[in-house]
Amino acid sequence: MRHGILLGAAFALLGLGLDAQGTSAPEPGAPGGSGLALRAQKILVCSWDGPQVVDEGILLVRDGKIEDVGRARELAVPAGYQVLDVGERWLAPGFVELHCHEAGESLFSVNDLNDLVYLANPEMRASASVEPGNHSLQMGLAGGVTTVLYIPGSGSNIGGQGILLKTAFDTYEEKLVRNPGSMKLAQWGNPEAWAMGVGMAFENWNTRDTLRRGIEYAKRWEAHERGQGPEPERDLMFDVFRDLRKNEIAISTHTQVYQVVLMTLTMVHGEFGLPVFLDHSEIGGWLAAPIAEKMGVAAIVGPRSIDTPTRGFISWARNKHEGFRGLAAGWQELGETQIGFNTDSPIVPEEELHVQAAMGVHYGFVDDELQTLRGLTIIPARTARIDARVGSLERGKDADVLVVDGHPIDPRTTVWTVFVNGKRVYDAGRDGRRW
């Protein structure tokens, strides 16, 4: 342990030197720098279907990527690599948040996200309001969140295009993971505020009609690219459907109550064949779990953790009238295997993403095979189609690594160091704790 602290101190000095000189050689592990070997008592790998945990492990980082991971006695550290022994602490993948509304900055932090002139705005881009250095993202980083899907609000049926960002870094270019990162669909339960009289059936029709037009537009381009038609006139309103049809991004869906979740699954995914995932998924939405599982659609639950025992409005608690129904637990019990957690930040502060998983367990979610951590890492990464880059500590992925002093979802656990793209972007010892 002392060994680790000493090395850490040396590392901190090195880091400060770099900051002071600005343009000197990149730090070990970062792009262009020498290699970095992180040694830890436990490495939570979180691969999709491979090993989940490596005890007494080593993680090799070079050029911002994970070069290798394995048992310390089996994996040799190449010459010239800086070794950082974190002692009894653990390594975990940086968390991936798929429902973030706070990466811009204006009057109320979130008011650049919802233009409510039309009911469907697939052309609008959250990327227009990204503010590097955003305060909420910095706090999220200190809480272990390294990637966010920053999305428009749910005031209209289709709020626009989300953007996938790293929480670290000072420039848009360095933060960017993918743009568009998703298309935000709000089927019901907020867009009705757009105008008096708009309800569940109208919103359903409006969604259906917009999706149909978007798909027709994308198909014309696909035909042209196959050499089977003229070049269509560019229509910015529907361009995002070309990304959707290629399955490069998915529709992030504000959806809740059983019948609406059912439409997300059977209409958006089943009828239109568009890639989709479920956000919120509360108020009985979990009753659609068997269908979602069959379709391979993920449920990223939150910010609410529970269905409340109210009998009047919400009667879906069924035999649990007088009990709380944990949402993650509900989805899990009915067979959903891809369950993640979100904050809807600022509804729940970005830095409390992992507390959402802890409360999932509090309300009955079974965590015997790292399901909680997977729901914060590989499952959202795969859901957002960025699992080739983030979501687990596997060879070839971005070196987004957390150094933690206990189970990552325990509220009492502290995130001590965060690496993003191999750069040590937050260090509680160096920068001071943020709480």
Partner: protein, 422 residues
Amino acid sequence: MVSPLREVRRGLGLLALGLGSCRAPLATEPLRAAPPGTPPEDAGIAIRCGKLLTLDPEARIFDPGMLLLRDGKIAYVGKPIEVPGGYRIVDRPESWAWPGLVDLHSHVQSAGWWDTNDMVKPLNPEFRVRAALDPGEERLRVADAAGVTTLFGIPGSGTSISGFGVLYKTKRDAPYERMILRDPGGMKVAFNYNPQRGGGDLGSTWCGLSWNLENLNDRAANLARREGPADPALENLERVHRKELPVLIHCASAEGVAGSVRMWKDRYDTVCVVSHGDWDGHFAARFMAERGVPLNHGPRLMNFTTLRREEKILGTSKAFVDEGVPNFSLNTDAPVIPEEEFFLQGSMSARLGADPYQMLQALTIHPADSFMIGERVGSLEVGKDADVVLSSGDPLDPRSRVELVFIDGEIQYSRCDDGQVF
């Protein structure tokens, strides 16, 4: 001090978080055959548990531990011993045992916000929550299923003095006389902010609020020095001035905290506990510590203003404890924070820097001691009320599950028999 819980937390493996099991439901548990001549089977209950957190003055922890409950009180606490004849045995070798939690700031005694705040006059020392206590309130059942066993049910903060609250147990379907720990339990004062209704009446500024309170307190203090109650409306306030009943003071900000201490401790020398103390209240923490005034903190546990100024969220629980505020306790202000998430106030304080064991004290013995009920509840000690919680793990860990709750030696909640409430 090294936190005993910290060591335990390190040991929390990834797979050690399983669900509490229903292997041994109490209702069907075979009774031990007692030797001839032993007392009847209901002599008491013997609990054999894993880790037992006493929260006593020596902070003793037994692993494994044992408790004997008899006549509603704790008859033994310590290492496992031979079970006396006639005791029913609750065998839970993997469960943790800890004292029922004590929340001093709770409004769930009557349905919703109704019946918690009569706001006709600014000063209501004659009001009693007794009149509005609903033993059938569902949130009490949820509270006890989360191990919260003692509540100070109080009126709101809409007026300067809103009345006298009741200290009661979260028993299910029990009549008033079986729920009550002490009635009146203490007085509720709202020192600043909420009582400033701004209707143009006296009390819309801190000057008026203070004059109102001091004018009334001077009368009550004078009465308290004489024999016999002269004013029925001030009967209970007199008892406050005789130090027979404590005062819980709603206040916020440094000047609010300091003002509360000056009035209720320095000027009237009452048994007072400052409640909330949020925003920048922690700047008055050392002043509170010097005067020996306890704090009942929450529902907010952090200072926001430090966020933009210092890029840092300040955990205020730690700030108060570090300055030496005695008997630091936590609250929910339920329903602001649901009563069943009282433990989470401790977890989140620990997340924001406070010591986990001290936060456990802040949920149990500290609120009890600061409110003159430390002889009855707040720790597992011989002679105290048998309010015992068994859980699958550390009480501050959201992943732990409450399995069994005893109040006054009776089972109030059993996860096996009653099902999972959450």
